[in-house]
């Protein structure tokens, strides 16, 4: 009789399938290939897409959202945040701009996820704290 040694919730999509790994390494509970892949990766090398924001100078907003264009190892997330926090962009910003290439040697790039227009003076004054 095989024993379930680990249970996890699949985060690939909002279905949130309940995945199991038994002591022979066999994976159950998935409903798609991506879920199976997630369970394999999660047992060997868990990865996550990092999303955060970076500073923007002269924009209609003070922050621009960013993401890694592929998942990075979970253990590197906090270290990646140090790099993210050092970035400073100047408006205008396009969506999809690569702002850090090959983040921490992971072959993942940090890219912007929205446009930030240049602030007209009146707007920037109104928004300044």
């Amino acid at each position: 009789m095989k024993e379930i040694i680990r249970e996890m919730i699949c985060i690939v999509c909002p279905n949130g399938c309940r995945l199991t790994v038994d002591d022979s390494g066999e994976i159950g509970g998935y409903q798609c290939e991506r879920g199976l892949g997630y369970a394999r990766d999660e047992t060997v090398n868990p990865t996550r897409v990092l999303t955060s924001t970076v500073r923007v100078i002269g924009g209609v907003h003070r922050r621009c959202p960013v993401k890694t264009d592929r998942p990075v190892p979970k253990g590197l997330l906090m270290k990646a945040m140090e790099r993210v926090n050092a970035v400073e962009l100047t408006a205008p910003v396009e969506c999809g701009q690569i702002i850090l290439g090959n983040l921490l040697g992971t072959e993942s790039n940090l890219v912007t996820t929205r446009e930030i227009g240049r602030a007209k003076e009146i707007i920037s004054e109104a928004q300044a704290p």
Binding site: I9, P14, G16, R18, T51, V60, P65
Partner: protein, 421 residues
């Protein structure tokens, strides 16, 4: 005179306007009170949006931008910084905006897409002091992600809705310590994947069947006392423990924003806190449609988009004179047992319907191996099995319209039954 006025430029409103434009409506206006379109998506910088609709994983701003670009290719007019004040049953809409001041516009149809807002501390009656540092999770999300202010260093999250879970991860990434997520119900109000990737990933404890019984601090939050609750949600003496935090984020539910709907005299469903709608998203007032979180709170923007498109297409059909035929038969959907509501609440059948109609609902408790059963009187007309259902996750069934043609009673009952093992 506009063919269609859409109230709200979030995902629901953008989808409705675009669908109506595709159906050939010429004069469409979106009134959006914020300075930019996209609604709440702009502050939801995390990924996981669009898996159903675009078949890829996008962040909130990326999802919004796709629709904004699609809208820009149409003739749809958008008034930003413009708030709708009144929607009247005769389809006149009054609004006020920065650029044009007070305006009254006539429309041939209206789509309500105002979204929802968060429940606040005032709605909860949490005892304790009233210092600074108590925010709703969505307010904190706006501060951190858009405006660039860090809201605290040691955080307790009350409630386990999705925004609270997402903010638990976000605050951790930004260097804060999230001490706990405290949920009064015996289950989480958020998606299972968010429990996994936001709480489990960051070793944040989730206290189910717990609540806050005290908040301390004069100028700023200095700490909270949490306690276990019994089956009646009363705190159990002797189970209290304290957490030293400077910030409390509330993630305790969302309320559809329906002041305009009520003022227009549209019939409201007290379970969803949204308007009663037919399968084409029309409200009980002819020509006024509703979609998205203003109808019922969704988990996924993808379904908001699809609902918006249905409303937009139906508004176009209404304007073109092809909807709500007088001889259509109305069937009410009745939520029974563990099903807490359905959207739509009514179906209108014209007799020659093909395809299926999506019916959304939530269950009242966690159910493993359940069957969703649709009954016409005593007769079972459809059944859908589900491995797992929980109150935090919206369920969806597709009712085949050809089955409905045979319905004898004026209503169909929808319940959940346990699969016999």
């Amino acid at each position: 005179m506009y063919d269609l006025i859409v109230v709200g430029g979030g995902p629901a409103g953008l989808a409705a306007a675009r669908a109506a434009a595709e159906e050939g409506l010429q004069k469409i206006l979106i009134a959006e009170r914020d300075g930019e379109p996209g609604g709440i998506l702009n502050q939801c910088i995390h990924n996981g949006f669009g898996l159903h609709y675009f078949k890829e994983e996008l962040t909130g701003p990326e999802y919004a931008l796709r629709f904004v670009r699609m809208i820009q290719k149409t003739q749809v007019e958008m008034k930003l910084d413009t708030m709708v004040l009144d929607v009247r049953p005769d389809l006149t809409v009054s609004m006020i905006g920065r650029a044009e001041g007070y305006q009254v516009h006539e429309a041939r149809s209206v789509v309500l897409a105002m979204g929802c807002r968060e429940r606040t501390r005032g709605a909860l009656a949490i005892p304790g002091a009233r210092p600074a540092g108590i925010l709703t999770a969505g307010t904190a999300q706006r501060y951190v992600n858009v405006e660039g202010y860090m809201v605290g260093r040691r955080v307790v999250i009350l409630g386990s809705g999705d925004i609270g879970l997402i903010m638990a991860r976000r605050m951790t990434l930004e260097g804060a310590k999230v001490l706990a997520c405290v949920e009064i119900m015996p289950y989480s109000g958020g998606l299972a994947r968010n429990i996994a990737q936001c709480l489990h990933d960051n070793d944040i404890p989730l206290y189910l069947s717990h609540t806050l019984v005290d908040i301390r601090g004069r100028d700023r939050v200095e700490g909270v006392t949490a306690a276990k609750v019994d089956d009646l949600k009363n705190p159990v003496p002797g189970t209290e423990f304290t957490l030293d935090c400077d910030t409390i984020l509330l993630s305790v539910g969302l309320i559809p924003e329906n002041e305009l709907t009520r003022k227009a005299g549209i019939s409201m469903d007290e379970r969803t806190r949204g308007a009663y709608v037919f399968d084409n998203m029309e409200t009980t007032t002819p020509g006024i449609f509703a979609c998205g979180n203003v109808v019922h709170v969704h988990d996924l923007v993808d379904y908001v988009t699809l609902e918006g498109e249905r409303a937009g297409r139906a508004a176009a059909a209404y304007v073109n004179g092809g909807c709500g035929s007088a001889d259509a038969r109305t069937i009410a959907l009745r939520a029974d047992g563990d099903v807490s509501y359905t959207v739509p609440q009514y179906l209108r059948l014209s007799g020659e319907d093909a395809g299926s109609v999506p019916v959304f609902f939530r269950v009242r408790r966690n159910i493993v191996e359940g069957t969703v059963v649709v009954r016409d009187g005593d007769e079972k007309v459809a059944a859908f099995t589900r491995k797992h259902m929980s109150p935090g996750e919206m369920e969806r069934i597709a009712l085949p319209l050809r089955l409905l043609g045979r319905v004898r009673a004026g209503e169909l009952s929808i319940t959940v039954e346990k699969v016999a093992s």
